[in-house]
C-alpha cells in the first residue's frame, strides 16, 4: 500500500513537471536556452528514491513529455531513464546525505544530458547546431537548472516522506 502511494506520488511529480515543461517553460527563452524542470525533477526523485525509481520516473517523464510536445517517442525517455539511473546510483553511494548533491547532480546531468541529446538528435538526422546546443543553450540551461535545483529538491523531499525515501543498499552491514 505504501509503495503504491509512493509510486503515485512519484508519477504525479513527473506528470506535473512534464506538463509544466511542455507548456510554461517550453516557451521561455533565456539567452537562447531554457531551464529543464523535468530533468531537475527526475534528478531529485532519483536522489531521493534510488536507481530503479529514478529510471522509471525518467522513462515515464520522457514519454509524457514526448507525447505532449509531439516529439519522437522514446528519445526523451531514453535520455531521462539513463539520467535517473545514474543519479540514483550516485544517491545510493557517494551522494547520500551530502548537501551539495542536488546542485552537483543537476550540474553534471545538465551537461551530460545536453551532450547526449545532441548526439542522439544528430544520429536521428535532426538539424542541430552544435554551437547552440552545446554552448548557448547549455549555458542558459545550466543557470536555469541550478536555480531550480534547490527548491525542486526540497519540494520533492517534502512530498516523498523520509520514510519512503531511498532504497538504500547495505554497503556496510553493522552487527550488534
Amino acid at each position: 500500500m505504501t509503495r503504491a502511494v509512493s509510486g503515485l506520488k512519484v508519477a504525479a511529480i513527473v506528470f506535473v513537471a512534464a506538463v509544466l515543461q511542455a507548456t510554461m517553460l517550453g516557451s521561455i527563452d533565456i539567452g537562447g536556452g531554457r531551464p529543464d524542470l523535468l530533468l531537475v525533477a527526475v534528478v531529485a526523485i532519483a536522489l531521493a528514491r534510488g536507481t530503479t525509481v529514478g529510471a522509471v520516473a525518467g522513462f515515464l517523464g520522457g514519454l509524457i513529455f514526448d507525447l505532449a510536445t509531439f516529439g519522437t517517442l522514446g528519445v526523451t525517455s531514453l535520455l531521462l531513464t539513463l539520467a535517473g539511473y545514474w543519479i540514483g546510483r550516485y544517491g545510493e553511494t557517494t551522494g547520500r546525505g551530502r548537501a551539495h548533491a542536488p546542485l552537483l547532480s543537476v550540474l553534471v546531468m545538465t551537461v551530460a544530458y545536453a551532450v547526449a541529446a545532441y548526439v542522439l538528435h544528430t544520429m536521428l538526422d535532426d538539424t542541430v547546431s552544435a554551437r547552440v546546443a552545446l554552448f548557448d543553450a547549455l549555458l542558459a540551461a545550466l543557470v536555469g537548472n541550478l536555480l531550480l535545483a534547490v527548491p525542486v529538491h526540497a519540494l520533492v523531499g517534502r512530498v516523498l516522506r523520509p520514510a519512503e525515501r531511498l532504497e538504500r543498499l547495505p554497503e556496510v552491514r553493522l552487527l550488534g
Partner: protein, 311 residues
Amino acid sequence: MARNRPARVAVLGSSVQRSAQSSSSRTNPALRRRIVLGVLVLLSLVLVTLYFREPQDGSLHTMRSAGTTVLKPFQVGVDRVVQPFRDAYGYFSGLVSAKDDVRRLEAENRVLRQEATQSRFALERSRELQHLLDYVSSPLFPQGFEYVAAPVVAYPPSQFERRLVIGAGEANGILVGDPVVNDDGLVGKVTDTTTDEAQVTLLTDEKLAVGARDLDGEAVGIVRHGSAGQEALILDLVEKKYAVREEDRIVTSGTRSATLEAAFPQGITIGTVTFVGQNDTDPYKQIQIRPAVDFGSLHSLLVLVPKGERR
C-alpha cells in the same frame, strides 16, 4: 566531540560469516535495478526505432495522438494559468532589450543605407564603364588613337566655368590638346595637366572651337559655344549654298585651320541640328546644335591619345 553511537562492529574485513539470506538480499536489488534499466532502455530504443520505421498512420503515431489528446486539457489549463505571468515576463524582457534593439537596428540601418548607396554608385559606374568599353570596341572609335579612361574628380566650380578635372595626367600619357570623349560624343579637350590629373575644357566653353561637318550633307564649319544657352552650340561659317536640315548629325571634320588650335579626330559625334536659318546681311547660315553629350552628367571620360611617339 565524541559521537553518540551504539557499540556495533563493522563486518568488513572481519572473519564473521555472512548468511546466505544477506548475500541474496544484496544481489537481488543490484540485479533488479540492472534489469529495470535494461528493460527501460530497450523499450526506449524500440519506441524510437518503431516510431521511425512505421508510417504516419501507424500504431505508435496513433498512440501518440491519443496521448496528446489526453494531455491537451492539462496543457491548456496550465497554459491559461501561466499566460499572465508569461505576458508579464515578455513585457519586461521586451522593455529591457528595447533600447538595445533600437540602437542596434539604427546602426544596422545606417550600414545598410551606406551599402545601398555604394552599391548603386558602383552599379552606375559599372554601366558607364561598360558603355565606354562598348564605344571603344565599336567602329565609331577613331583610328590611330589609344584611350585613357579616367573618372571626373572635380566638376566646374561655378556655372560660369566650363572646365572639369579628371583623375589621370601626364603619368598616363595625357598631354595638353588631347581630345576628350565619352560614348555619346565629343566632350572637350585637355587644357592643362599635372602628373596625375588633367583639366578638361568642355566643348561648351567660349574659348573652344572644333572643325565640324554635316554627316548627312556636305556643309563644313566650326562648332563653338552659342549664345542661346550655356549648353547650346552653333555650327558657324557654313556658306548659304550648302543644304543643312534639322536633325542632321554633326561630327568632327578632323581639319585644322588658322583659328583652330588643335585637330580632333574626324567622325566623332558632336550633336544634332535643331535650327537652321539665314538672312540677307549675314553671309553664313545660322545653325543651332543640340550636343550629343550631357555636359551636366559626366562621370567617366576617355582621353584620346595618339598612337606611336608623342609630341
